[in-house]
C-alpha cells in the first residue's frame, strides 16, 4: 500500500478516535476476540500435546514396571531376575527413585525451577525398563508382569496410544466446531461495532465522496478499526495462553511427571503469532462484512 505519511497519520488518528467513541462496544469486541482466541489457543495446545504424546508412546517397545515404594532391595532384585528370565525379554534396566528424578531433571533442561515446586519429595517410583523383542510380545507379557510381587503397575505405550488417537480425533472435531462457533460470534460483534462506526460517520462518508475520496480511502479507517480490535483481543489471548501454559506445565511436572509435555518455547511463540494473525484477520473480515452491508461507497 503506497500512501503518504499524512494519509497514514490521518488513518491512525481516525481509527483511534473511533475506537474511543465506541467505548463500550470496542471493549466488548476486544473481550470477545480475546475469549474466542483463548479457547482456540488452548485447543491448539491440547491437540498438539495429545498428538505428541501418542507419537511418543507409539514409538516405545518397552514395558515400564513400576514398583511399590515398600519393596525392599531383595524383593527388587528378585523381580529383576524373574523379568530377565521371561521369554522375549531382551533387556532389563533398573531405575531407582533417585535416578528417575535425575533423568527427569535432565529432560527439563533450562526449566529446573519447575523442580523446586516438588520440595524434598521424590514422586518417582523405582521401576524397571523392560525391552521386548516385538510389540506383540508386550500384549502377552504385561498381564504376567503385573502379577509379580510388589509390582504396582506394568504399563506399555500401545494401549494408551489407541485411546489417545481416539481422543485426538474427538478433540479435533470438537475444537473445530467450537472455533467455528466462536469465530462467528466474534465476527458478529466486530461487524456490529463497525456498523456503529459507519453510522456515526455517515455524514463524513457522504462529504468524502463529494470531495473525491476514493472508495479505499473511505474504507481504510473502518478496516483498521476492526483489525485493531482483533489485534488487541489477540494480544490479551496470547498473554493469557502464555501464563496458563507455563503455569500448567509447572503443575504437571510436579504431579504427572511422566507426561512428555511439549516445551513452552518455541511452541508458545508460534501459537501466539498464530493468534495475532487470526485476531487481526477476523477483525478485518468483521469490518469488511459490515462495510459491504452498510457502507455504500
Amino acid at each position: 500500500m503506497d500512501m503518504s505519511f499524512s494519509t497514514k497519520e490521518y488513518f491512525v488518528r481516525e481509527t483511534y478516535k473511533s475506537i474511543r467513541r465506541n467505548g463500550f462496544m470496542s471493549f466488548a469486541s476486544i473481550s470477545t476476540v480475546a475469549v474466542s482466541l483463548l479457547v482456540l489457543g488452548m485447543f491448539l495446545l491440547i491437540f498438539l500435546n495429545t498428538n505428541n504424546l501418542a507419537k511418543y508412546l507409539e514409538s516405545q517397545v518397552q514395558i515400564s514396571v513400576y514398583m511399590l515404594d515398600e519393596a525392599d532391595n531383595e524383593e527388587l532384585e528378585s523381580v529383576g531376575k524373574r523379568l530377565s528370565e521371561m521369554e522375549g525379554v531382551e533387556k532389563v534396566t533398573f531405575i531407582s527413585k533417585d535416578e528417575a528424578l535425575e533423568k527427569f531433571r535432565e529432560r527439563l533442561g533450562d526449566q529446573q525451577q519447575l523442580l523446586d515446586s516438588l520440595g524434598s519429595d521424590n514422586p518417582f517410583p523405582n521401576y524397571f525398563d523392560v525391552q521386548v523383542d516385538s510389540p506383540e510380545r508386550i500384549q502377552q507379557l504385561t498381564p504376567q508382569i503385573s502379577e509379580l510381587p510388589q509390582v504396582e503397575t506394568a504399563k506399555f505405550g500401545q494401549e494408551v496410544v489407541e485411546n489417545l488417537f481416539q481422543l485426538t480425533r474427538i478433540l479435533r472435531f470438537g475444537g473445530i466446531m467450537l472455533v467455528v462457533f466462536l469465530s462467528m460470534a466474534t465476527l458478529f460483534i466486530i461487524s456490529n461495532t463497525i456498523r456503529l462506526t459507519v453510522f456515526a460517520r455517515r455524514k463524513e462518508v457522504v462529504i468524502m465522496k463529494y470531495v473525491g475520496a476514493t472508495d479505499w480511502f473511505i474504507r481504510w479507517p473502518f478496516l483498521l478499526e476492526g483489525m485493531t480490535l482483533g489485534f488487541f483481543g489477540a494480544i490479551v489471548a496470547a498473554l493469557l495462553i502464555n501464563i496458563i501454559y507455563s503455569g500448567l506445565q509447572t503443575k504437571i511436572y510436579a504431579t504427572l511427571a511422566f507426561l512428555p509435555l511439549l516445551p513452552a518455547y518455541p511452541l508458545l511463540t508460534y501459537v501466539s503469532f498464530f493468534l495475532l494473525v487470526a485476531g487481526t484477520g477476523i477483525g478485518a473480515l468483521g469490518s469488511y462484512i459490515s462495510l459491504r452491508k452498510f457502507l455504500r461507497v
Binding site: 494519509t7 497519520e9 457522504v206 463529494y210 476514493t214
Partner: protein, 228 residues
Amino acid sequence: MLLMSNVSKIYPGGSTALQDVNIHIEPGEFVFVVGPSGAGKSTFIKMLFREVIPTTGSIFVNGIDILKLQEKEIPYMRRQLGIIFQDYRLLPDRTVYENVAFAMQVIEAPHRKIKRRVMNVLELVGLRNRCNSYPNELSGGEQQRIAIARAIVNDPLLVIADEPTGNLDPETSWDIMEIFKEINASGTTIVMATHDKEIVDAMGKRVIAIEKGRIVRDEKNGVYGYEL
C-alpha cells in the same frame, strides 16, 4: 466545460424530473439555473457529479463523458468539481480549519501544502480569524462560507451550488454572492441553482429556466422571470 445532450431523467417511481435537456456551458461562465420548486433543478445539479444518472443522454464535463466513467474513476472526476449545498453539510465535531482541510486530506494532498492553502481560502471567504471555531458557533452565512472554502480548496474547474443562499437572509446572501463573483473572476466556472429572484436579476448573468423538467428559456444576461 459542460455539455449535456438529450438528457432525460425518469426516477424509478415514474416521475419525470428532466426531459430532453441540451446545454452548453463555456469555461469561466457564471450560470443560474432557475425554476419553481419541483422543476428539476436539483436533479440537474446532481447529474453533474454523477450523484444521479440520467435515463438517456450524455454529459461531458471538461471533455470527459462522465457517464462512461468506471466506478473507480468517479472520485478523480469529482476532484475537479466543488460542490455546495443549501444545508452546508459541515462536520460539527471539527473546527472551521479542519472542515476545510478535510477536503485536502481525503484526496491525499501533501501535508505541507494543506495548511497554507486552507488559510488562503479561509482568508478569501473572510473566516481566517475564526479558523478554530466550531460550525455551531457561527452564523448560517459563515457556515456557508466554510462550505464554499471547502469546495474551492482543491482548485476545482467547476463549482456547482444547489440553492446556496436558500437558508440565508437577503443581506447575508449578498455577501455570499460576492464570494462567488470573486471565485468566478479568477476563472472558475459556476453553475448555481437558485430561487432567489432578486439576486438573479441583479447579477445579470446567464439564466437557464427549467419548468416541469424542460428548459423553457436560456438567456445571456437573463432575469429570473417568475412571479414569486
